[in-house]
Symmetry: C3
Amino acid sequence: MSLYSIENPVFLAYAIAVAISALKLMGQGWVTVALMMRKGRGFASPEDLRPGALNRVPDPAKLAPDPDVERSRRMHRNDLENIPGFVFAGFVFVAVDPPYALAVVCFAGFVIARALHAWAYAGAKGHETRATFYTVGSLIVIFMALWSLGALLF
Amino acid sequence: MSLYSIENPVFLAYAIAVAISALKLMGQGWVTVALMMRKGRGFASPEDLRPGALNRVPDPAKLAPDPDVERSRRMHRNDLENIPGFVFAGFVFVAVDPPYALAVVCFAGFVIARALHAWAYAGAKGHETRATFYTVGSLIVIFMALWSLGALLF
Amino acid sequence: MSLYSIENPVFLAYAIAVAISALKLMGQGWVTVALMMRKGRGFASPEDLRPGALNRVPDPAKLAPDPDVERSRRMHRNDLENIPGFVFAGFVFVAVDPPYALAVVCFAGFVIARALHAWAYAGAKGHETRATFYTVGSLIVIFMALWSLGALLF
């Protein structure tokens, strides 16, 4: 049996975490879109100033940055800096057949840490709070990558 | 037989879509490079001002932003916000063995939607046109992730 | 036997390259963090100005950009533009069962090219040096994607 099968409990847990992470990635894009439309600011392309169904009241200020839109873009960038690394390290982690409990702690830990990071970032909580959740997520990815490398090389 | 095998028609379709998406990702980087070289603008690093084979006529203005280079960078960023999500959701989608026709519609639909998005973005078509193709691609990814989550959890 | 198994030497080489790439992705984030803390510049969010354990001497200048922090962010962005493409093209490459020697040259070549790119970028070497390593890595990804497409389609 291949390890990359939902009959493998480790892979099942991984697949759930990947699906949730993909939803987070796409959802953050829609948060940015919703904020741009609601606030009428933060558009990035000059053609977005043209009148149209998405722009009934043309206004050059729509290209000006908006703090909330920029916050959502920073959250998106932070996701892009962390979620692919998680998916990649987790993919290799599955290949070396880790203990089930360890795998679930890593996969669930990452998803929960990133959810709390998003909550802290969206609510402009203190830097320490956000940094803590970032650190937990990042260390989980680094741990999975190092564990996998150890198993692959030795 | 593993589902992750080109003998599985769903996987074969997925693999083709992933290979095309990887080419799009890398190609956009080369579009940015070509525009920077042709227009002599939009370089990002101070050391790029030094004379050399890539910079025969040193000019501090080379670090100034250029509208076409910035457009290509925004297209690249938009790819990075969408293609990894597609690859991740599609990977999990393959694991839950969806109907072949549904899978092909999702994979081909995403590739076509992103090709049309690139056409609309590169040509500065109206915001509505670009947003429509973005929406189609994004909803396909979200659909695959939700379908997969449903199959994994229930 | 599935090709996605560490008993397949091509997959084993791929998995090692993916694990190293994941470490590079996460490590660059920590380089940015370390530079922000050491230089007290380059913070991105207004809430990071609040006094706290990470900010014992509040100073509005902490939000000002810093050349070293920006360099690390550009390196990170460059990784994000290249590493996911490598992982995606390599994943499909494994599926079409390439010759072992060719696969190792591609996987090791990419890792080495990106390590040298990071060395050139961090040290502000000339544009030609950095561009050479970028080109090698990018062409390897494009080659793998085209080879895979050929094998999948014909």
